[in-house]
């Protein structure tokens, strides 16, 4: 592309040596310099790639414990130079060591809401929908869009823990696991 343009410029120069009419003593020229910055987003570093919720069951009756606070982590150094969309997808905390379906009245899954905040004024939140075996019958996600560029720290927190059925007891397991996936993407509808 650059070579073609240069060739074109030389051709114009050569033609300029022949004045079709009166030649002026001076003239001006305009050079347009144009640049373009592509749309981009960058998701920074996690302060911790793991959120440990701790003991999930109540040691009085085996039901879901009252989990204090909102366990979380942060993603620092994120930016988008245009409008963006942040998306959160979470999966339930599921007992990894318990084979098969749990007996009636028990659950091997704990649901929760994962939120990503700090990216714009509203948080993107997603609530898991696991059944007592941890399976989810429908896909789900939460997202927020920003029209303006943003550079900020994203806080990822978990809250609103629940069992699939009210009063379900948790099967004993030392390893309940779930994942929270945070995605940052440019938003075509945004600016500039």
């Amino acid at each position: 592309m650059e070579r073609k343009l240069l060739t074109l410029a030389v051709a114009v120069n050569a033609l300029a040596g022949i004045c079709a009419g009166p030649c002026a003593a001076s003239d001006s020229a305009t050079v347009t310099v144009k640049g373009m910055v592509g749309s981009a987003c960058h998701l920074g570093d996690l302060s911790s790639a793991q959120i440990d919720v701790g003991q999930l069951s109540n040691n009085t009756d085996g039901t879901l414990a009252s989990i204090s606070g909102t366990p979380g982590t942060t993603i620092t150094g994120s930016w988008c130079n245009t409008g963006s969309k942040i998306t959160v997808v979470a999966t339930p905390l599921v007992a990894q060591g318990f084979a098969g379906a749990p007996p009636s009245g028990f659950t091997k899954a704990v649901n929760y809401t994962a939120s990503a905040s700090g990216w714009g004024s509203a948080a993107a939140s997603d609530t898991t929908l696991g059944n007592t075996s941890g399976a989810e019958s429908a896909s789900h996600s939460g997202s927020q869009t920003l029209n303006d560029p943003e550079a900020n720290t994203i806080a990822v927190n978990l809250s609103s823990f629940s069992t699939p059925g009210s009063g379900d007891r948790l099967v004993a397991d030392s390893d309940y696991e779930g994942t929270i996936t945070v995605t940052l993407a440019t938003n075509a509808a945004g600016s500039p």
Binding site: A25, A29, V33, G38, L43, Q50, G62, V171, A172
Partner: protein
């Protein structure tokens, strides 16, 4: 004199520069959430089914008093039946065990047993829990602990039901032997725990 001026005209020359790479989406951040649930068994206070019982007197806490252990006419053992329920839960593969401290209802107080009399009453404690059942035979053969247990290979919750049955005339001195006067006692212990 014609003056020739060469003019240089650059018209429409556009320099295009692009900075940065265009990416619609960056690699997502994946956070692992973890937690745990401790192994736990719970056992509530016993509930005695007085309504459906036979020969039951008062119930005080976890003590069941038999109304009349001996028959007024024969002085031997009267039949007795009652159920005890415990609301219970274990959230892992576990074992239920029931033990009789004395292996029967034994006369307390060290009274010597005269010949032809009985100082102990055998009984059975049939218990059900989760998918299983078992019967503890407290046969009063000797004053010593007797246990019965079975494994439950899954978490479970509900009621442990123990049906205590005393046969009419059952004694450690043969069927129908008269009982020495006094207090007869045993302690049943229910344990839920690891296999």
């Amino acid at each position: 004199m014609t003056k020739t001026v060469f003019r240089t005209v650059f018209s429409g020359l556009v320099l295009i520069a692009m900075v940065g790479s265009s990416r619609a989406q960056v690699t997502p951040a994946v956070v692992r959430a973890i937690g745990s649930a401790d192994e736990l068994c719970t056992l509530a206070a016993p509930q005695v089914n007085v309504g459906g019982a036979n020969n039951i007197g008062s119930v005080a806490g976890s003590t069941v008093n038999i109304a009349d252990l001996s028959d007024d006419q024969t002085l031997s053992t009267r039949a007795t039946d009652f159920d005890v329920r415990f609301a219970a839960m274990c959230n892992f593969d576990h074992r239920i065990a029931i033990s009789s401290d004395r292996g029967g209802l034994w006369l307390q107080g060290g009274t010597t047993r005269p010949a032809g009399f009985a100082d102990a009453v055998p009984y059975q404690a049939a218990f059900t829990w989760a998918d299983g059942n078992q019967t503890l035979q407290a046969n009063a053969a000797s004053e010593s602990e007797i246990d019965a247990a079975f494994d439950v290979n899954r978490p479970a919750f509900g009621d442990i039901v123990i049906h205590v049955h005393v046969d009419q005339g059952a004694t450690n001195a043969g069927s129908g032997a008269p009982l020495v006067a006094g207090t007869y006692e045993d302690i049943l212990r229910v344990t839920l725990g690891a296999q």
